[in-house]
Amino acid sequence: MTLSRPRLPAAGSPAHALWLLGGLLLASLAALLLACRLGSVPLSSAELWAALGGWLHGQPDSLASTLLGLRLERALAAWLTGAALALAGVLMQALLRNPLADPYILGVSSGAAVGALLTLLLGGALWMVDLAALAGAALVSAVLLGLARQDLRGGPLGATLLLLTGVMVSAGCNALISLMLAIAPDSRLRPMVFWLIGDLSGSSWRGAGVAVLALALLLCVRQARACNVLALYGDAASTLGVPVARLRTLLFTAAAALTASAVATAGSIGFVGLIVPHACRFALGPDHRVLMPAAALSGGLLLVLADTAARTLLAPMQLPVGVITALIGVPAFLLQLRHVRRGQS
């Protein structure tokens, strides 16, 4: 017996890519709705729609509307953070031509952590913590750009020198972080550790985060073809018409801004920025025209699901979302590696 299957566009074609991105977008919306329904007080579909109507009309009068507002804010923050981290991961991998690069590799997040932990240590308010994280990330990015400006132009050691500079800056920041943890009084230690693991409780989505992600996505779509050429050819990409130094500076700046925005919202959530780009590469191929939007959508999707799990699994206790991403990410990634190994032999 033969089953006729619906005819799908061929893999690798533009139509296939649009189907795929559309599917990921729908999955993201479904995950956001799921995140709004689940919690200590679950909402039924009917309650959810009624509350959504009320919330949209600015009348959060019922309990359901209030719950929805809180959950949606947090879920949107999770989506934005995941999308920003995954996209930053793809950008860093293209910039360094290294598939093991992640958004944190050049120390931007360590800079943010120094700022945030210092503020927590001194007992600053929550908005001051976010602001200090942004300032720390910006400072480290500026220092890196200053030190490694020449490496972005290329040369046989370019990527290595940039990577080493970033790793050194990161190591310096990590020493400061250890120092602050060592001298912090017990009462302040817990929020500091939670910040480091990555935690979305109390986060809400912000216009700045949306703007950074939208701008970065726009840049990525414009530069996707050039990124393909840079990833394949390295410095010789200039003989194919790609302005290598300018593109690398753009990629670095975009990745740093995305990372800073994500880390200021939710702390250093691990694994999303490494695993989502990898999983997308394995599943969809290396074409940045598909990879960059797909990674952003998948990263958002993953973090919304992970955060929903983090606040419902051991409710009323809330787990840091960074733990969940690592616990999901590690086995999923190892399974995928096994699949890749099988494909090779």
Binding site: P14, A236, T239, L240, G285
Partner: protein, 257 residues
Amino acid sequence: MTPRHATGLACQGLHLELGGRCLLAALDWQAHPGECWVVIGRNGAGKSTLLRTLAGLHTANAGQVQLGGAPLATLALAERARRQAYLPQSQRDAFSCSVRSAILMARHPHRQGYWDSADDHAHASAALAALDIAHLAERDIRTLSGGERQRVAMAALLAQDTPVLLLDEPAAALDIAHQAQLMALLAQRCRDHGHTVVLVSHELNLTLNHASHALLLLEHGQWQASPVAELAADALSACLGHPLSAVSHAGRRYFLP
């Protein structure tokens, strides 16, 4: 038929130094359309550095390179990439990529839209056929042998569709059949399409039988340019630092140690 940018490649007073050593002093040299040049010299004589300078990847200490009558430095990168293509000595592949995608990427300077056009696909398919690698089209470039990878890089160069081609040891990893095929292909491009080819090679007899001109890089930055037919065994021996004698066989000249 005269191709679009028919004026080839030229160097004026080109001076190249590397690590404090003078590789080339005052190179005044022209490669016209229809000419196939082979650059010959010892290891470290500056062959690759010269080619990288022509490709705009290395900055000369003095003098200038002209491409199609315009100084290379004043040409926009995309325009440069539509006029000349460069094949590096070897490439490190960091990411997986199918052979067809790798060749399609070489269409970058010609492209306007977000996706590959039918024209891009036509060029890629023609290049795959020309290099005899259509059967590898869906393979991952990281699983290819050295010679296969080199032919993919060569196909990408053809798909870039430029009147000037710069090639750094294009025949190094190839077997003898594919070496002959590659050189015949390059010579045909020069002859029939009026393209300009400049290649670096240590395969003397293979390249000199297909090339029209030779540029010898000598010691202390000196150089010598001549048609292959006028190339003397003495000059070649002096250039390479090893005695060579010319032997004629079946109407062709061969240089043997």
